[in-house]
Symmetry: C2
Subunit: 411 residues, 2 copies
Amino acid sequence: MTAPTPPNAADCDPTSLAWMTGFPPAPDKAVTFADGSFRKFPQLRWAWSNIRQLVPTIDVWRGSGPASALPRDVQDLGKVKATTMDGRAITFGDALDLTYADGVVVLHRGRLVFERYSGALQPHKQHIAMSVTKSFTGTLAGMLVAEGKIDPAAPVTKYVPELAKSGFGDATVNQVMDMITGIKYTEVYTDPDSDVWAMRRANGMAPPLPGVPQLSLLEYLTTMPKLGAHGEVFTYRTVNTDVLAWIMRRASGQSLSELLSTRIWQPMGAEEDAHYTVDRLGIESGGGGLNTTTRDLARFGEVMRNRGQFNGRQIVPTSVVDDIARGADPKKFAPAGYATLPGWSYRNQWWVSHNEDGVYMARGIHGQSIYVNPRSEVVIARYASHHAAGNVNNDPVTLPAFAAVARALKG
Amino acid sequence: MTAPTPPNAADCDPTSLAWMTGFPPAPDKAVTFADGSFRKFPQLRWAWSNIRQLVPTIDVWRGSGPASALPRDVQDLGKVKATTMDGRAITFGDALDLTYADGVVVLHRGRLVFERYSGALQPHKQHIAMSVTKSFTGTLAGMLVAEGKIDPAAPVTKYVPELAKSGFGDATVNQVMDMITGIKYTEVYTDPDSDVWAMRRANGMAPPLPGVPQLSLLEYLTTMPKLGAHGEVFTYRTVNTDVLAWIMRRASGQSLSELLSTRIWQPMGAEEDAHYTVDRLGIESGGGGLNTTTRDLARFGEVMRNRGQFNGRQIVPTSVVDDIARGADPKKFAPAGYATLPGWSYRNQWWVSHNEDGVYMARGIHGQSIYVNPRSEVVIARYASHHAAGNVNNDPVTLPAFAAVARALKG
């Protein structure tokens, strides 16, 4: 299930390889946006921890208060044993190497029990969350629903009339939240002809084509044709999340960065500011543009595990967390054919296992993840820069390893 | 000395004009990098407080400790009376409006006695410092000299051999620090043919010309021809500062952002991170790319006023501050013909008045400034977005107003 000869994590360590060191970096050590080298492996191992040096970003302010405490009770979890889906005996430490982990924080009952950094990441530095961003967008959307600012049964055009002629014209907000729309849009990261590249040019994460007028992200969303019916099956398409974020901006009058700062980042006592990548008009990528520290990613996981309570306050309404944890209909998820996720569903931008521990996850394509295990009272936040874009490549290692850590901590 | 009919600050307020509001902003409310609108007035009043949304940046970390205290003892300085160079009676409040101030913090004996925000700026937001950046670069250079890492008498080629064939090939570090090199490079912000535009394309602050391979900032510096002799007269050329920053990186092995973070931002207890704009290779603009909050700008002014001591420690060696405060030779400055700065000099990237109060300043072309008045124990930090690029446009108002505030506080 993994590539034939995957590179060893140590052999592609971005610090050893000296990417972007020297003044100026030598041509063969440069990682730049314009030439696309930032998306190549192993250069991406540097880039995913340094996105703001490559593209414009907008700040998500942590507020003026102190960071919330993460009491430490460090344990030697690196030796926890696990068995991969294809039957190999490994340790949790092996799993982190095999999945090119850059930063890992494990919390048990709110205590920090494990923390490790590799690659180009440091505790205070932000790493790109990619599709983990979606789970922040969905949670904020749930909060706006709970406040009565968004009606999940309403058509998306109630909030964004510009989408009337697009494939989203007859979709509901809830269908967008659960990605059960029928839209003609392909997201195959390894296919240069996939629609995902046009979206990346629109949201500022790929260089514009020379001589072609560049659509902004929101303009691009209005061009999506319909394909099939809405409401039937889950199909992973990032454009749903960006439509959801558009609805949220219109319903709240706030940018995504303002929403995240005021409703989550400040109340949860984030340690560092976060930032989103933006398009040429300052519109955040709600589907993939968030960058945070590993610890702050773990804090958000802990907010969820505690049913919205953290840092002495109710940050996310309990009903919003419970709705996510409960998941959606696995029957609508099954046709998508995720071999490593049998019985799972996708609810409001989160991946829900429906297993006995009630595990749900936020997942990014290079191994970025938030793993919430309510039964074991465990949260694992991991940033990674896997060589292959797609969780099918790391799930066979990641999912058993995370489960083993949860079991070990539960005791 | 000012433009014939200068716009009223309130009439060009970026918040009232609603730049970049709406999702997406309407075409006539958009401020973008690619079309150059971010440099136009009044759009620049929004852009100078939102640079990181327009171009790539690198973080200057504040560290994990608390911000240093700025005890408050607020006074009604807005009513302090002053007389402009052309004889108009105004108040300090008027002066701030007349110079399109975005953020102002006045410290007296280390106490915050006045603070005001306008335009698109807020207390926690960073504004571009433009040439105020140079004074940070110079101070850090002075620190490296004090540590013996840089020899000011050495040729620049001792640190940067790549400059051997350029006009800097026979210049000394000290000549670069004081901008008394003879280099063929013009810096006329209002002239589209001035060399400053090629530098801005190189450092990432102007869009590249279509179809022309783009030099990086350091490559550009190696192309500067010589014009006249070194060591004779002061001529304001930003390329000197960027050569100095190059020398500093080579001498320290650190980037400019690392130098600023570890040597000033962390020890002085900055309230927020700062950031530099970077070129396509991640190289900071040492001549103009720093962005900070107004309070942190004031903190740095206070470090200087206290001869390097602040937040309970010696941050900059006293000898480095004293050397700057003493100034350079006004005879070498006079030929530059700054009508508003009679008797001043330029020492190590600071503007030194040689007046009875021992005033010296950091100055940016849209009115950004740090005013240090040792005799009156006053520091004024001001961010501004003046419509005209060049301090000759605001000095007639600014310099008398700052002096009046210093007199009023001295009592």
